[in-house]
Symmetry: C2
Subunit: 216 residues, 2 copies
């Protein structure tokens, strides 16, 4: 019964996502959708990514949050257009919400849109937003066992960012075990260990992303 | 339209939750439901709580996860009964899932059931499980801005645990700002700063919980 109620919502979502995908393609905009737990460093990763790519590309950010606009303010402070979506309690973005944000952006002028989804490792995985890629961030303090517990998000991600690697000595994070679990779930996805606030490892991730933005 | 579809699910959930609440009360079992992000230290907090209270009370644990049973195994290794619920993708526990777990426990013998909900700051807040209290855990690495971004879970919690306080020097966590935000959302809830894996601060939290278990 739960599935019966969910499917019509997903079908409607996916139809609108397909329209968005076409608009992005026509305007040669690459769209990446970042999924992560609360507090894993999504906004810091976005700020580091902007810093690495802003000379080459025109970038905008769409911020999804249950409430507040603190993240959008942090992005705007860097002189980058940012649109805040408040989901009003919903645990993920849907394509209808994204469309309203996209409508206020100048797609013709943009090369890259970074979406920061709601902090949640579960709900956003089901919802197509018309993006080119979903990319997930796990942060070291969350623990190396997360692929076992949240396999879905690891499976659907085109790339996996491991953030806060500078705190590995503080936490009991077994990188080898983590890599082995990720490899089982998603052998194709590159894994980028970074420390977003320190800039460590950001170049490799930015290079991967830039290659895709150029081809959009 | 989304609300129209959600309400019948919630009504059905709440009716079954009321039955569970009655069973808990008849058996003088206190039930606490722990909500937190992935990797905030729910299982470590449960292990520390068990250590503090196992001499006085008979305790059981119900573990909610999307997939895997690693958490239940950690609890069972301490000689405490643990029942694993795999939600098969759902981002929260519902009372129907909880009932199946409760049915295999010996309620007459128990004083305290600790529920570890699915790692998620959003979805579990709406679902009554018949518990006596929902208690949330935020961990320091998640950041002091989380009350602004996830107000709902702070508002419905009877107590708030701030875990991993030993890592405050590593992260830019402003405890004063955090306390002020929490105070705005939920002035009645006590705040327990702990470091579950080190045992720091666990006594205060365990004392608060023990008082309630004795009155159940």
């Amino acid at each position: 019964m739960k599935l019966d109620m969910k499917q019509p919502i997903l079908d409607k979502n996916d139809a609108l996502a397909a329209q968005l995908r076409q608009r992005f393609a026509e305007n040669h905009v690459y769209v990446v959708d970042l999924l992560a737990s609360p507090g894993s460093g999504k906004t810091s990763t976005i700020l580091a990514t902007i810093e690495a790519l802003r000379d080459e590309f025109n970038i905008a950010v769409i911020e999804g949050d249950i409430a507040s606009s603190v993240d959008a303010e942090r992005i705007k402070a860097q002189g980058i257009p940012a649109v805040q979506i408040n989901t009003g309690g919903a645990c993920h973005l849907e394509s209808a919400m994204l469309k309203r944000a996209v409508d206020v952006l100048d797609l013709e002028r943009l090369d890259l849109i970074i979406i920061e989804n709601v902090g949640n490792l579960v709900c956003p995985t089901d919802f197509d937003l018309g993006e080119n890629a979903k990319v997930m961030i796990l942060s070291v303090p969350e623990g190396d066992d997360k692929p076992l517990k949240y396999p879905g998000v690891f499976q659907i991600s085109e790339a996996i960012i491991l953030n806060k690697v500078d705190t590995m000595p503080v936490f009991n994070f077994n990188e080898e075990a983590f890599r082995a679990s990720v490899m089982q779930l998603n052998p194709m996805a590159p894994l980028f260990p970074i420390a977003a606030t320190k800039g460590t490892g950001v170049d490799e991730w930015a290079t991967w992303l830039a290659e895709r933005v150029r081809q959009a």
